[in-house]
């Protein structure tokens, strides 16, 4: 790995105040995103993948806060910023211009009362020094870039006049209009039909090639991970349990949870008449995590030693897993 990641998250902890005391939603999450690459954070509900993205953007709800750790981001000017220490005000200069985001439901991020041209133009107004004519030209270019047909005439459309796929394209245009270095995409295609998802994934890949941004891609879908990611961090119940390059992760999954997740997916090439190997049970509530390895209660390989805490460690070159039996799992494959 190159020496200078654009984003380096170290031992991040996030806690939420709840009615009955505090709940730790992220436990010592660490990962690094290299420039120009895509890192997928993959996990099921409650894994903490979305909390991670909100923490990085300073968008945690009022009852949540970072209690430990850091998230070092390298700005365009080469300055190192710890995102966990930024003031609300300082974040305003960062979001959009340095770090942009797209979410699952574009409708909730677009203002229904303003045309899409106005909304994208407002980003330019905030961050760039353009006159009205130049702004309009730049917005049209952005809509063309995200392949919205008849872009110039779409400028004056309202969000509700667009299909779901077109709205997500507008969101992407809005996110990228100030050419950010880092794009955080939280389940950007989950609400879309699969044929439209394919279009948006293609578009994101093309834009990354052309603009060179780094992407933190948050998803629950291992198929999307395989298609989009260079590197992968698998999350479970608030922690990263495995981390590897994408090819390595799919070829040699080392954590029993990753293996279970992959075995749960129905694939068209699976052998006839073989049942899917579902993971038994459910994710434990964050307020009642088991001691030691949190996956142990659902794990087929669990032994008494799994009741003591387990940390990520290298199990293959550049491949880390938080499991004391990872070598056996790998040999078993």
């Amino acid at each position: 790995m190159s020496a200078s990641p654009i984003l380096s998250v170290e031992a991040l902890r996030v806690a939420f105040r709840a009615r009955r005391g505090a709940v730790t939603a992220l436990r010592d999450v660490s990962f690094a995103l290299q420039p120009g690459r895509t890192l997928a954070l993959v996990g099921e509900s409650g894994s903490g993948k979305s909390v991670t993205s909100l923490a990085l953007l300073g968008l945690l709800p009022p009852n949540g806060r970072v209690t430990q750790g850091s998230a070092r981001y390298r700005t365009r000017a080469g300055e190192a910023l710890d995102l966990t220490q930024l003031s609300r005000r300082a974040f305003r200069g960062i979001r959009g211009r340095e770090i942009a985001m797209i979410f699952q439901e574009p409708m909730s991020s677009l203002n229904p009362l303003f045309t899409i041209g106005d909304q994208i133009g407002e980003m330019l107004l905030l961050h760039e020094d353009f006159d009205a004519v130049a702004r309009r030209r730049r917005v049209t270019e952005m809509l063309e870039l995200v392949e919205i047909p008849a872009a110039a005439s779409r400028l004056d459309s309202y969000p509700h006049e667009l299909s779901g796929g077109m709205r997500q394209r507008v969101m992407i245009a809005l996110a990228l209009v100030c050419a950010p270095q880092l794009l955080i995409a939280d389940e950007p295609t989950t609400a879309l039909d699969v044929t439209v998802q394919a279009q948006i994934l293609d578009l994101m890949r093309r834009l990354q090639r052309e603009m060179g941004m780094s992407i933190l891609f948050i998803t629950h879908d291992m198929g999307v991970v395989a298609e989009m990611a260079d590197d992968v961090a698998v999350m479970y119940a608030g922690a990263v349990v495995e981390q590897a390059g994408v090819t390595d992760l799919f070829a040699h999954p080392a954590h029993p949870y990753t293996r279970g997740l992959l075995a749960s997916i129905p694939r068209p090439d699976r052998p006839e008449g073989v049942r899917l190997a579902a993971i038994s049970g459910a994710v434990p509530p964050l307020s009642a995590l088991p001691p030691g390895c949190v996956f142990a209660p659902r794990c087929g390989l669990a032994i008494p030693a799994c009741e003591t805490p387990v940390a990520l460690r290298e199990v293959l070159p550049g491949h880390r897993a938080a499991c004391i039996r990872a070598e056996e799992a790998l040999a078993d494959a």
């Binding site: 998802q197 293609d202 198929g223």
Partner: protein, 328 residues
């Protein structure tokens, strides 16, 4: 290739008489903006003891079709025969009696129910409505159902919000099974679930089919899931069934250009997969104003001028398998 002008009836009927047989079923809604063609001229057989998958994207009409089969939505035209009885002519009362034999499971079956009712009451609701058994018998029956779907009877007295998504789906299944129906429509029953939980529920449905010889219509947008669970698959696009046939051959060698595009769009959990993706342009047109002729032609990579003339007749593309396309 066989005769291309087979009527759907002859082309799709398997040897044994199907439990459910629909012919030329349509559902149109009159709205201020015009007529919505939600389901258009669909013919389909569901053999007893089989699981038929109905797959399509949003706006395909799959949910409307599922509800029309149970007459939760009234059909505009066509026939629905269930176990030898024509359902379209039945009175509301006769239909209520018939619904003991036909049940539906929704995407989040518990969310639509009264959150103040205990799980036991929710599952027993159908039994009570049809005045089946004493209170005591109903309670025993619910306990047995709860166990059958993989929950524990000591959870009967809890409220729906105390359960996870997967457990709620199990509750919905238990509720649908309470009246011992022969036929179940499962509408996006696993779509909202995490993949590890989804596999549990799919396996539960397979167990139930074996144990109870259930017949099922499984509605989903995910072709991989449908392929895993179902014996037969019908692919819908903009109100029409465009291809139907046995699951494995249909998924391995899709015939209709839409089925091919749908399959090719599903991201596979394999970074090495160098698939030649057929990415469709645009999105599904409005059902208010569907294209003339073949409804898929506006997005079809193989469209011909003649595709605008008429919706293509069924063409046999394999054993018990048809596709509606003039350029296969």
């Amino acid at each position: 290739m066989l005769e291309t002008t087979l009527a759907p009836a002859e082309a799709t009927i398997p040897a044994a008489e199907p439990l459910l047989s629909i012919r030329h079923l349509s559902k149109r809604y009159a709205t201020p903006g015009g007529i919505i063609h939600a389901v258009e001229d669909v013919s389909l057989d569901i053999p007893r003891g089989s699981i038929t998958g109905l797959v399509g994207e949003s706006g395909s009409g799959k949910t409307t079709l599922g509800r029309t089969l149970l007459r939760l939505v009234q059909p505009s035209a066509g026939s629905i025969r269930f176990g030898g009885t024509e359902l379209t002519g039945l009175s509301e009362r006769e239909m209520t009696a018939m619904r003991r034999r036909m049940q539906i499971i929704f995407q989040d079956p518990v969310a639509s129910l009264n959150p103040r009712l205990k799980v036991e009451t929710i599952i027993a609701e159908g039994l009570r409505a049809h005045r089946i058994g004493s209170r005591r018998e109903r309670r025993d029956r619910v306990a047995a159902l709860i166990e059958e779907v993989g929950l524990s009877p000591d959870q009967m007295r809890r409220f729906p919000h105390e359960f996870s998504g997967g457990q709620r789906q199990r509750i919905g299944i238990a509720r649908a099974l309470a009246l011992e129906p022969e036929f179940i429509v499962a509408d996006e029953s696993v779509s909202a679930l995490d993949v590890s939980i989804q596999a549990q529920i799919l396996n539960l449905l397979l167990d139930l089919r074996e144990r109870r010889n259930l017949t099922m219509l499984f509605i989903a947008h995910d072709l991989s899931v449908v392929d895993y669970l179902c014996d037969r698959i019908a692919v819908m696009y903009l109100g029409r069934v465009v291809e139907i046939g046995p699951a494995r051959p249909l998924v391995r060698q899709p015939a209709h250009p839409y089925t091919r595009a749908l399959l090719s769009a599903v991201p596979q959990p394999d970074p090495a997969a160098t698939r030649q993706r057929e990415v469709l342009e645009g999105s599904i047109p409005s059902p208010l104003d569907p294209p003339s002729g073949c409804v898929f032609r506006t997005r079809c990579p193989r469209a011909l001028p003649a595709c605008a003339d008429a919706f293509p007749p069924p063409a046999a593309v394999g054993p018990e398998r048809i596709a509606h396309c003039i350029n296969l």
